[in-house]
Symmetry: none
Subunit: 235 residues, 2 copies
């Protein structure tokens, strides 16, 4: 490790001297392309620029070495590889921190008063409308109603109902869809919404303690009611 460093430094120090001499020779013998001003001012400026650039390169290189120093498990001494390893390391640290945060929050939540967390309390208490849904209901529901393009309810196995619903995506459609389904008191196992292009696809897995047609009608009614409270059920 250190050996390599010393080796590299020695190598490049020698190389710098070497090429510097070569450069000077090149400048002396090949300065013809500087046809406009062969005086010393140009040379001085160029020399300044050269040295400045040399400083910059050196600084960047040693900064990179410093980066390499704080990153463990460096695979290759490559410049690009060093940066890549640094990126991977940072992401790894991110993951660690995320997991640690999760652990902390879990620890903290465990000391919360009640260990009884399930029971679907959220669905018992009727969701009282907050200021947001109220404004949605009144102002925007008629401007952009939920346009259902596909709707199916089917059984999967014995105890599971799969609900699939596709509608066109407009302003606040996602909010409304979520709102509808949260208001239905369904026994949701898992729910999934995908927005892509101008479509919204919602997939629900429900516990099958309700009749299939009941679920379908329930959802249809809720959507129709949201679209136009005066006119129940179209289709």
């Amino acid at each position: 490790m250190d050996d390599i460093d010393v080796l590299c430094n020695d190598y490049w120090e020698n190389m710098i001297l070497q090429t510097e001499q070569l450069g000077r020779n090149f400048d002396e013998s090949f300065s013809f392309y500087d046809s406009s001003s062969p005086d010393g001012a140009q040379s001085s400026a160029a020399s300044k620029n050269i040295e400045s650039e040399r400083k910059r390169r050196k600084k960047l290189t040693e900064t990179l070495h410093a980066l390499r120093a704080v990153v463990p498990n460096i695979s290759k001494m490559d410049k690009a590889s060093i940066i890549k390893d640094a990126i991977g390391y940072i992401q790894e640290l991110h993951n660690q921190e995320r997991m640690i945060q999760a652990e902390i929050s879990e620890l903290e939540s465990k000391r919360r008063i009640f260990p009884d967390f399930d029971q679907e309390i959220s669905y018992n208490s009727k969701p009282k409308r907050s200021r947001f849904e109220q404004t949605c209901d009144s102002s925007e529901s008629r401007s952009s109603p939920i346009e259902v393009l596909e709707f199916s309810v089917s059984h999967m196995g014995e105890k599971t109902i799969v609900v699939s619903l596709t509608c066109s995506k407009r302003t606040d459609t996602m909010v409304k869809i979520c709102e509808v389904f949260e208001s239905l008191n369904l026994k949701i196992i898992t729910a999934n919404i995908i927005a892509f292009s101008d479509r919204l696809l919602k997939t629900l897995f429900l516990e099958a303690n309700e009749e299939e047609k009941d679920v379908k009608i329930k959802i249809q009614t809720a959507i129709a009611a949201l679209n136009d409270p005066d006119c129940p059920m179209s289709k």
Copy 2:
């Protein structure tokens, strides 16, 4: 931002053509130092070398950009500054991890030994919150705020930003999440929400015309504002 990038690309594309021509002229008129073999093989090899070097530079540059992408709070776009900030950020992560790790072990040990003092410990020694939990600070202010458990913003390829957010599922959380993201005017390519058990996972693919940290801060601010409109996020 896009303007700058486009500008730079155009600029450097032109420069590449320009200097390439210059290089060819140089080779044609000044190939005398190639006294041994004035054939085309040398030219081909040189051309290969040029293009290879070009590739290497490009790769290194974009690797550096990738590094910049995973490091928040970049002061200057400087190459050296990017690396310096990355170093500082890694060290900062090291410190955070060390402190958090210490706190975890402290919590666990005290929890084992003095289970009665849990309450006291939890609210006294509070770790310096990282960006992950900034939105959780006001989690107890309202009845069912959005409790963020995991939150990441990362790049995928060059033009895509991936946003991943996990929060605990409570009453109307789904509605609120959708509400927040619909109010942000993000360039959404595709969005996905999964509800499972007591968790909500939202994944977004965005068009990368906004800075990464801006997106993150935007979302954080919106969530914090929704959680507690009275106290809209310092920092």
